[in-house]
Symmetry: C2
Subunit: 239 residues, 2 copies
């Protein structure tokens, strides 16, 4: 049996100015290691943005020096099976003093990709990291689902998904084909949990050992729930 | 007292084709968070390579889609106080079938930067991640020092530093101003340990919580030593 038989091989990430480096790099590192240890060469990766301009994370001069190149625009993006949606200051437009990056066009792409558009099939899986959940919530993908997000700003971000059951103690949550993870580093744990659902255990262990990742083995191994004092937020009922 | 008074504010990383994503992104994420929570805007970052061509990590078509832009060449690099040296397939030229990237020019830059050159002051600190130790060893910076490296390929990499005491169980090692860390994810733990030496505890806690990083609190919290069966390798004595 081919090692990647059940795994989505066309992976994409939406990247916008002000993304968080590790939100992207954690899952990407795990996928890079998988592409190495699987001993096949059939995985592809696309970095999708509103245009092909270089993108910087963060929001200060230190992060501005870091520049990443997209491979595709929303219009030229290929068929994607697994879409990663990182968080970062760039998707936050509700905090005083923060500069909105206006990610409405990203939200629109995520919605279209999830459901399928033009000649494209629907996504098989989508995974947000940290406050990338804002884009999923605004795209309507979290309505009626369980989800989590980063533990600081937990309440503020939950307001974007009033029809969502937000889990206050979760390193990651899977509800159907929609995966959400807690903040920043939790993205790698979420991706490893995702791999564990679809791949042989030995293969995932190889990825973990290559990364030397001190893994959260279970979703509730989330020390930042206690540190930040987060609790479940239930969906608001109508009326 | 200024929060960053004792911290090296001119940070650089040498980046070569075939670097490992998380080797770079782990320490960078911690530094990005520090630049955010310190409430100052005096940290600068430089990405230094042999030329300004975009750089990809790894060694297959999946990683080739990921491209990062250097900010400086060896010739144009500014004064650096803290230099990061990531590992990756690109610095390995001893494994059968691997394609050497010939990082001799990187090794030469690391040696010159460490000792100071032209109008440049010596580095205040250097930190390698994973098999970035190969560059430090070849630059002579590990002679007579204690160091560690990634736990797979531990013995193979230790051969590059015959005058080094290689610690088989260490998430990171500091010897003078030369820091070395274990593989990939250990780079973030090493950077957080480095910050803990130079910054107020509260500031480092803010960085850890922002990253939601499940931190190795002590250097010997290294589960991969047991998994890979690594032991100390003592320096070879002459004769």
């Amino acid at each position: 049996m081919a090692a990647l038989e059940n795994f989505p091989t066309s992976v994409g990430i939406v990247l916008y100015p002000g993304f968080e480096v590790m939100d992207a790099a954690g899952p990407i590192e795990a996928l890079n290691c998988l592409s190495e240890v699987a001993g096949e060469n059939k995985m592809t990766f696309s970095i999708i943005s509103r245009n092909l301009d270089p993108l910087s994370p963060g929001r200060n001069k230190f992060t501005a020096a870091q520049q990443y190149l997209p491979t595709h625009t929303f219009e030229t993006a290929p068929q994607i099976d697994l879409l990663l949606v990182p968080g970062g200051w760039g998707s936050i437009n509700f905090l005083p003093g923060s500069e909105s990056n206006n990610v409405d066009d990203y939200t629109a792409y995520v919605r279209r990709a999830y459901h399928g558009y033009d000649e494209k099939q629907p996504l098989k899986f989508v995974m947000s990291v940290c406050n990338g959940t804002i884009l999923l919530a605004q795209a309507g993908l979290l309505d009626g689902r369980k989800a989590t997000t980063n533990k600081d700003f937990f309440k503020e971000i939950a307001q974007f998904g009033p029809k969502t059951h937000w889990l206050g103690r979760a390193r990651w949550v899977a509800d159907g084909n929609v995966w959400t993870t807690s903040g920043v580093s939790a993205g790698a744990d979420g991706m490893l949990a995702f791999m564990s659902e679809l791949l042989d255990r030995d293969l995932v262990t190889k990825v973990v050992n290559m990364m030397e990742w001190r893994r959260a083995e279970t979703a509730d191994d989330d020390p930042f729930a206690e540190i930040e004092g987060t609790h479940d937020i239930l969906p608001k009922t109508a009326g």
